[in-house]
């Protein structure tokens, strides 16, 4: 084990339950106080094929996946064939009694002896638990928490199989390093990016979510749907993405804080609606979980290829903001900010994630629900100035918003250019004034921008610039380089629009070399920086093979 972490890769066919094992194991690790980074790699199919669930774990705080594997839990032969090469020198394979590993020791598990076929998952979980030195009791409880209610009929058998496996495995001779103990066992939540975003939305007061299923974004509406009854919100599956965004706009107009979640292709269908939100000045939060395109592309993999598309989506000109969380904590915190900005600035606010972020489980410090900053409703109780005009021209560009049906004032909004009272107009003087009113909101939005996070040396030899989910990998690559004596800093943007050059241009200019790190082929964020500041990022680490950014990839590309 290099440093103080282990990387466990569970591999097998879709339908073999590897996600179940992975989630149970990962959750057990989190409950034991460890930090984790899960990377899910799956195919666009339901059974068969080859999927993996990787858990990197450490007693220290980690935020990036790792490529090399210490423990390979192979649910089929193919997993060994495909991944043995990724094993570290001390790596161990856990497999069935027949193990095709050629260069690494193998712990051959007598699955059939230990349990009925249906409980093979529990056996695999148990073996991994023992190897990692987990507490049997804790794993058993985790198992029960997750399956006890849903399948009480098998609770007992589950426990028995786990105990049996534990006994068997503990008795085996195995040369596998134990995980270093955690120093303090603080409570952590176990969640992936999608769940963090959904929880943040709930905490922000989301009341309406319409969606059309699309990987990797579907997890958000599903998480919301599971809580819809308890939390009092409506989650509605739409007939298509066009309906989804228009429904959300309608619900928001009528007074429900609203969101949609989709991926590139579905978002493409929403772009007319984006423009509608801009024109009618209706708040709406739009989550785009990126995956590799063009078109259907690689539906279950990851990429950061839609930044420019999202930034310019929708015809005509109107202000917007785009968040790009680097961690689940960011996801929770920033989606709340997104709802707040949507309400206050009355328009579309974007949330740009990706498959890696969406599916990556982490150990997250519990959110102090009572202490969260308030999220604005953006709605007035009554008209301060009469007659009420939905689009009253103001200095900030923000007009007082009333809800239809709530007061006696009529709320009139229009997708055409409109007068202050919301009625269609072709008066070109009004047009100009309305454009300027809308655009003024953009200037105010700038005052609220979350500044990028600089970490490391203030005047570095090397500055790595990144955004969104690449954060963990970039931070760790930088740490490695620093450990090697280099003066390296990182600059991570969790809000990628608007850009406020004063917040970061000095950093770029003070670095001897700046390298952009992003998961796309065009270097989209680097282009954007140049457009906004003139600063040309000369060197780039780009990735567009569908896999998440890793510290190793960055170091390789840097030739380090």
């Amino acid at each position: 084990m290099l440093e103080r972490d282990l990387n466990i890769l569970i591999g097998g066919e879709a339908g073999q339950g590897l996600v179940t094992i992975g989630e149970l194991l990962a959750r057990s690790l989190v409950r034991s106080g460890y930090s984790i980074v899960v990377t899910q790699s799956y195919q666009s199919r339901i059974r068969g094929g080859h999927n993996t669930f990787a858990i990197r774990v450490s007693p220290d705080s980690i935020a990036a996946p790792r490529e090399s594997v210490d423990l390979l839990v192979a649910l089929d032969v193919q997993t060994v064939v495909l991944h043995e090469g990724e094993l570290t020198a001390h790596g161990l394979v856990v497999s069935d009694t027949v193990c095709p590993a050629r260069h690494h020791p193998c712990l051959s598990v007598p699955y059939r002896e230990l349990a009925d076929r249906r409980f093979a998952n529990i056996v695999a979980l148990g073996v991994a638990g023992v190897l990692l030195g987990l507490d049997q009791e804790l794993v058993a409880r985790t198992l029960d928490d997750l399956f006890g209610k849903k399948h009480p009929e098998v609770t007992e058998q589950n426990e028995r199989v786990l105990a049996e496996t534990w006994r068997w495995c503990s008795a085996q001779e195995k040369n596998f390093p134990r995980l270093p103990a955690v120093s303090e066992r603080a409570q952590r939540l176990f969640m992936n990016g999608n769940e963090a975003v959904a929880l943040g939305a709930l905490a922000a007061g989301v009341k309406f979510c319409s969606f059309y299923p699309m990987t990797p974004a579907t997890g958000i509406p599903l998480t919301l749907a599971a809580q819809a009854k308890a939390m009092g919100l409506v989650v509605e599956q739409a007939e298509d993405e066009i309906a989804a965004i228009n429904m959300a706009i309608g619900a928001s107009f009528a007074g429900a804080p609203s969101m949609v979640a989709t991926s590139g292709g579905g978002f493409a269908l929403m772009t007319e609606g984006v423009s509608l939100a801009g024109m009618t000045e209706t708040p709406v939060v739009i989550v785009v979980g990126q995956r590799p395109g063009p078109a259907t592309g690689l539906p279950t993999r990851t990429e950061q290829g839609d930044l420019e598309f999202v930034l310019h989506a929708g015809h005509g000109e109107f202000p917007r903001a785009i968040f790009a969380p680097g961690t689940p904590e960011d996801g929770f915190r920033l989606i709340r900010k997104a709802f707040d900005l949507a309400a206050r600035f009355q328009g579309p606010i974007f949330f740009l994630t990706d498959q890696f972020f969406a599916d990556s489980y982490r150990a997250v410090a519990p959110f102090d629900v009572e202490a969260l900053p308030p999220v604005a409703s953006g709605i007035e109780k009554d008209a301060a100035v009469l007659p009420y005009r939905r689009y009253a021209i103001t200095e900030s560009g923000i007009s007082p918003r009333l809800l239809p049906g709530v007061t006696r004032h009529l709320v009139v909004v229009d997708s055409d250019e409109h007068t202050e009272d919301g009625h269609i107009t072709e008066d070109l003087t009004v047009r100009k004034a309305m454009m300027e009113k809308r655009l003024r909101k953009g200037r105010e939005l700038k005052a609220e921008v979350v500044p990028p996070e600089l970490a490391g040396d203030g005047k570095p030899d090397l500055l790595l610039v990144c955004w969104g989910s690449a954060k963990g990998a970039v931070d760790e690559a930088a740490a490695k380089l620093r450990a090697g004596g280099a003066r390296v800093a990182t600059l991570h943007f969790s809000q990628v629009w608007p850009l406020v050059p004063e917040q970061f241009l000095p950093h770029l200019e003070q670095a001897r070399e700046v390298v952009g790190v992003e998961s796309n082929a065009f270097g989209q964020f680097a282009r954007l920086i140049r457009r906004e500041t003139g600063f040309a990022i000369q060197r780039q680490v780009l990735r567009y093979d569908g896999l998440p950014m890793t510290p190793e990839y960055i170091l390789r590309e840097l030739g380090g």
Partner: protein, 284 residues
């Protein structure tokens, strides 16, 4: 008491002689008959000549995108079921660009009244065929004549089990004004298709053409009889029936199906922190 004056009088951008004028008048009368005050009503429309209608009366208005009025209306109704939500738009808007949403609205049985101004042509964009244009109709876009079969919304709606399906004609203001309150009162989705001459671009289906053909369903007609409704809905040619073709309250409207809405609208609800904390616990 609400009066027709409450709904105001506006200058319109419609051609003189256009059927839209009468539809507007009938809608206002219908709203008064339904005893609704302007602020209780939300009109949602798309883009087209018909879709301008909500600008010409006093009410809450969301004038959205071409073809996308129904999803906006659905969202608004779900957010605040207390609103009376009426969609007004053209045949192109609802059956062309918005066809998929019509199917979905019927399936959802959302409590929205849809008034389709059917002039069998795209008026605002100057006379291309619409989904209801008759076969052979010649336009600049269809110089060889329309090849597609016309869309019969009433027939499709009845087939799909929509709970309120009616047809009227802009030349019958009282008729339309009379149907509207019933449609609004209907719990669930209600379709009213209004035949409407376009004096500028439809020289075939003129006022006289409709006038000659439209006949009111007889007194004894039972809109609860689905088979009869199917037959009547399919009738289109020398004679065109107008009236409430089908009516059934069998299905619950969508807005009554969400647990979250059992406590009323989604408006001004504080985040329930204690429940939220419980939700968080599931992630431990």
């Amino acid at each position: 008491m609400v009066s027709i004056e409450d709904y105001g009088t506006y200058e319109t951008a419609w051609c003189p002689g256009c059927g839209n004028h009468s539809i507007l008048e009938a809608v206002k009368r219908g709203l008064v008959a339904a005893r609704l005050e302007p602020h209780q009503v939300l009109f949602v429309s798309g883009i087209g000549q018909a879709a301008k209608a909500p600008h010409y009366l006093n009410a809450n208005v969301f004038n959205g995108l071409h073809g996308r009025a129904l999803p906006v209306a659905t969202g608004a109704k779900l957010a605040n079921p207390e609103l009376t939500v009426i969609v007004e738009s053209g045949d192109g808007c609802n059956y062309g660009e918005g066809g998929n949403h019509l199917l979905a609205a019927i399936r959802r049985n959302i409590g929205v009244t849809l008034i389709v101004h059917n002039n069998q042509v795209y008026g605002l964009t100057k006379g291309q065929a619409s989904p209801t244009s008759q076969e052979g109709f010649v336009t600049k876009a269809q110089p060889e004549g329309v090849a597609s079969a016309p869309f019969n919304a009433a027939a499709v709606a009845v087939t799909m089990g929509a709970g309120f399906v009616a047809r009227s004609f802009s030349g019958m203001i009282d008729h339309l004004a009379g149907i509207l309150p019933a449609a609004i009162a209907h719990p669930g989705f209600a379709l009213i298709e209004v035949l409407q001459p376009c004096v500028s671009f439809n020289k075939v289906n003129t006022f006289a053409w409709y006038k000659q053909r439209c006949y009111q369903l007889p007194e004894g007609y039972d809109p609860g009889d689905r088979d009869a409704a199917m037959r009547v809905a399919q009738e289109w040619g020398e004679r065109i029936p107008v009236g409430i073709i089908y009516r059934s309250g069998a299905r619950l409207p969508l807005e009554q199906r969400f647990a979250a809405l059992h406590q009323g609208s989604l408006l001004e609800r504080e985040v329930d922190l204690s429940t939220l904390k419980k939700v968080m616990q599931r992630f431990v």
